[in-house]
Amino acid sequence: MNRRTFLLGAFAGTAAIALGVNLYSPEFSLPDEGEEKDYRLLFGVLLPVMLDGALPDVATHKQAAQNRTLDAIKQSIAGLPDEQQAELFELLDMLENRLGLLLLTSSMTPLLMRSPSDLTQMLETWRHSYFALLQTAYLGLRELVMASYYACPEHWSRLHYAKPELFK
C-alpha cells in the first residue's frame, strides 16, 4: 500500500514542529476488503455536536437519525475515490489514536471521554486555525457529516423539502 502523506507528511513540517513532539508516523493503509472499519464510535461522538439543532428532540428519534446518518456516512465514504478515502481514513485513524489526538487536538483524552463543549472547542480550534491542515480536517469532517445527514430523505421534513412525485 502507498504511504499516504495528507496529514502525516504535512505534520512533519508544520504542526509537529509547532507542537514540539517527535512524530512517529506508522505506515497507513486502506482497510482490506472484509476488514470493515466504519468509525461509528468516533462519528457517534461527533454527530450530536455537529448536528446540534438539526437532530430531532425526541430521544428515540434522535438516536434513529444518528444511526441513519452513520449508515449514510459509510455509504458516502464508499463513494469517494481511493485517494480521498485514504486521506479521510488517515484523519479518522489519528482521531482514534492517542498520539494522533495529541497532534490534532493537543490532548490525548479520547474523544469519547470529552464533553460536547470540549468537542466544540476542538472543532472551533481547527476551523479558525492558521494551519491549512487543521482547517482541511475540519472542512473534510464537516462536509462529510452534513452531506450524509442531508442525503437522507428521512431528514428533509425539517426543511419542508420533498422531491416531486413524477411517476404516480
Partner: protein
C-alpha cells in the same frame, strides 16, 4: 404517465454498446475515428462524423445511465454521474469542482444554460492568443446549427423565485439582465437538471447526438478509461484503455483502440492529463497550464416568504452587468447567476455546524442564493491553475490571486446589494466569520472589511476550461484553431480544454458551436469530400 427511456429503447433495438466492466479478456477495436469522452465536445463530434459516413467509436470512463436511473436524489446522482462523487477539489482543497462523469459528460448534469461565446472573449483570443477565424460572424452559423439541433431557446416562462429575485434586483437597480436560453424540449420545470433529467427533456448529449451516432452504427464503450496515447513519428497509432468495474476501479482487462483519426474530448482536466501521461510533444510546456475555473463565490439571502429555490428551471436569468465592465484584461469581472438549492448542495456549501447551521437549513425554503462566476484568464494576475500528474492520477493547483480576491469582494457587495434590493430580510456572504447582514448599508461596510481566504471563503466551480489551448502560434497553443494537434497529424482536441482563457459565460454552447465547426472540417478532410453514406 410512463416515461419512455430512449437509451433503453435504443439498446433494445441493437445499438452497439459495451459496458467494459463486463469484459473478461483483453480486446482490440478499430474504427475510422475514435473519440475519448462523450460530453459536449465528444457527443457533437460523434454525431457529425458518423453522419458523414465515418465509423466512430466513443469511449467514456463513466457509466451509461439514463432517465430510468435518475431518481432526483443527490445521494444517487453524485456518485453515479459526477467526477469523484461531486467531491472533487483543487489540490489545496480550497475550490470544490462539479464535473460530470457518465455518458453525456457534464451535459447530463448541467443546468441547461446556453450562451454563445462572448464577443469580448473571441476578440481577446484573436488579438492575444493567435486564434484564427473565430469571430462572432464566422461562428454564428455554427451556433445557429447547434441551437436548432439542441432546441436551445429562451425560457419563456415565469422564472422560479430564485431567478425571479435576481431579475427583480436587476430591474430595481437598473442593472443588465438577460433571459437565459435553455436546451430543453418539453421541460417539466421541476428543477432537477443537476441530477440527470428524469423526463428526457434536457437536450443533453445523452439523448441527442449520442443516440444519433449510435443509430448510424457508432459504437459506445462505457466504463472504459483511456490511459495512454500510443504515438510515434508524429502519428497516433493506438489508444490504450483500462476497463473499469462497476465502482469505476480498474479491472485487469485492457482494451486497444485503433483508428485513422483520434479525438480527445475528455474535458479540461482529463484531456491534458492524458496527453501529459502519454508524453505527447509539448515543446513549450503548455499542457495542463492555464486551467480556468470561473471560480465562484456565493451569497445567501433570506426572504420573508418562500423562495423554493429547488423548484423550477434552475437557471433562467443572468446578469452581465459586471462581466466586462473593466475591459477584458482589466479588473476581473463576474457574471451573476443563481444555482438550484438542494439539501446536500447547500448543506455542504454553507458554513459552520451545530445550531447556526441548523438555523440556516431551517430557512431552506426562504433561502435565495446568488452566485458570482469570476472571469479568469484575462488579467495579468489571473493565470489560472495547473494540472500535475501524480502517482495515482492528477492534482489541480489553482492559486487564488489577489486579483481574484478583489473581484470576490466586489462580487459579494454586488450580490448583497442585489438581494436587498429584491427584498431580502438578511444576507449572508458565504465566507467563514461573516454574520447575517441586515441592510445594504451594513453589508457595504462589513463586506469592505471582511476577511477572505482559501478554506474560509467557499469557492466552487462547475466550468473547467483550458489546459490544451488552441491557436496558430505554437508558443501559445497545442492545437490549431480547428483543434488539430500541432505535433500529431491524426489527433484533434474538441472540448473545453482548448479555450485559452475562461469564457465569462457558461461553456456548453461554446463547446457545441466550435466543435460543430471543427468536426465538420475534420469530416470533410477524412472523407475527402465524399458524400455521406
Amino acid at each position: 404517465m410512463a416515461i419512455i427511456d430512449p437509451i433503453v429503447t435504443g439498446l433494445n433495438s441493437g445499438w452497439l454498446h459495451t459496458d467494459a466492466s463486463q469484459l473478461q479478456e483483453n480486446q482490440q477495436f478499430e474504427a475510422d475515428v475514435v473519440i475519448v469522452g462523450t460530453g459536449a465536445g465528444g457527443g457533437v463530434a460523434a454525431e457529425i462524423l458518423s453522419q458523414a459516413g465515418l465509423s466512430v467509436i466513443m469511449i467514456e470512463a463513466g457509466p451509461l445511465k439514463s432517465s430510468s436511473d435518475f431518481n432526483m436524489e443527490e445521494r444517487v446522482a453524485y456518485p453515479n454521474l459526477y467526477q469523484q462523487a461531486a467531491a472533487m477539489k483543487t489540490a489545496d482543497k480550497a475550490i470544490g469542482i462539479f464535473q460530470g462523469r457518465a455518458v453525456g459528460g457534464s451535459t447530463t448534469i448541467n443546468w441547461t444554460t446556453s450562451i454563445r461565446t462572448p464577443k469580448e472573449a473571441l476578440a481577446f483570443w484573436a488579438q492575444h492568443k493567435s486564434v484564427a477565424g473565430l469571430d462572432p460572424d464566422a461562428l454564428a452559423p455554427w451556433f445557429e446549427q447547434m441551437e436548432q439541433r439542441l432546441n436551445i431557446h429562451e425560457w419563456n416562462y415565469e422564472p422560479n423565485r430564485n431567478n425571479g429575485a435576481l431579475k427583480q434586483g436587476c430591474i430595481n437597480l437598473g442593472w443588465d439582465y438577460t433571459v437565459i436560453k435553455r436546451n430543453v424540449a418539453g421541460c417539466w420545470n421541476t428543477g432537477y437538471c443537476g441530477m440527470g433529467c428524469p423526463v428526457n427533456a434536457k437536450q443533453s448529449m445523452l439523448v441527442t447526438t449520442i443516440p444519433t451516432a449510435l443509430e448510424k452504427g457508432a459504437q459506445l464503450f462505457s466504463r472504459a478509461k483511456v490511459v495512454k496515447i500510443e504515438h510515434h513519428n508524429g502519428q497516433v497509432f493506438a489508444l490504450k484503455a483500462q476497463a473499469l468495474d462497476v465502482n469505476l476501479r480498474p479491472t485487469s482487462v485492457e482494451l486497444l483502440f485503433k483508428a485513422k483519426h483520434y479525438i480527445l474530448s475528455a474535458g479540461a482536466i482529463h484531456t491534458p492529463t492524458l496527453m501529459m501521461r502519454s508524453d505527447v510533444p509539448d515543446p513549450y510546456q503548455l499542457l495542463g497550464k492555464r486551467t480556468f475555473l470561473h471560480p465562484t463565490v456565493l451569497s445567501g439571502g433570506v426572504f420573508a416568504d418562500a423562495i423554493n429555490a429547488h423548484s423550477g428551471a434552475p437557471q433562467s436569468i443572468y446578469s452581465d452587468e459586471f462581466v466586462w465592465k473593466n475591459g477584458a484584461d482589466g479588473e476581473l469581472g463576474y457574471k451573476l447567476e443563481v444555482p438550484p438549492v438542494h439539501p446536500i448542495l447547500i448543506a455542504s456549501k454553507t458554513l459552520g455546524y451545530g445550531a447556526s447551521h441548523a438555523e440556516l437549513m431551517a430557512q431552506f425554503n426562504q433561502l435565495q442564493v446568488t452566485i458570482a462566476l469570476i472571469r479568469d484568464g484575462y488579467h495579468p494576475d489571473s493565470q489560472g491553475g495547473q494540472v500535475h500528474l501524480t502517482s495515482t492520477g492528477f492534482a489541480l493547483d489553482y492559486p487564488l490571486s489577489e486579483a481574484f480576491w478583489r473581484a470576490a469582494r466586489r462580487a459579494y457587495a454586488s450580490m448583497a446589494e442585489l438581494q436587498f434590493s429584491a427584498g431580502a430580510l438578511k444576507v449572508l456572504p458565504i465566507s467563514d466569520g461573516m454574520p447575517y447582514l441586515s441592510s445594504w448599508k451594513e453589508a457595504k461596510e462589513s463586506i469592505a472589511q471582511m476577511d477572505l481566504a482559501p478554506l474560509r471563503t467557499i469557492v466552487a466551480s462547475a466550468h473547467v476550461m483550458g489546459g490544451c489551448p488552441f491557436g496558430e502560434d505554437e508558443k501559445l497553443s497545442m492545437v490549431n484553431s480547428y483543434g488539430q494537434s500541432h505535433y500529431l497529424d491524426n489527433l484533434s482536441v474538441m472540448d473545453g480544454s482548448i479555450f485559452p482563457t475562461s469564457l465569462g459565460a457558461n461553456p456548453q454552447l461554446s463547446i457545441y458551436g466550435i466543435t460543430a465547426r471543427n468536426a465538420t472540417a475534420l469530416a470533410q478532410k477524412l472523407t475527402d469530400g465524399r458524400e455521406p453514406q
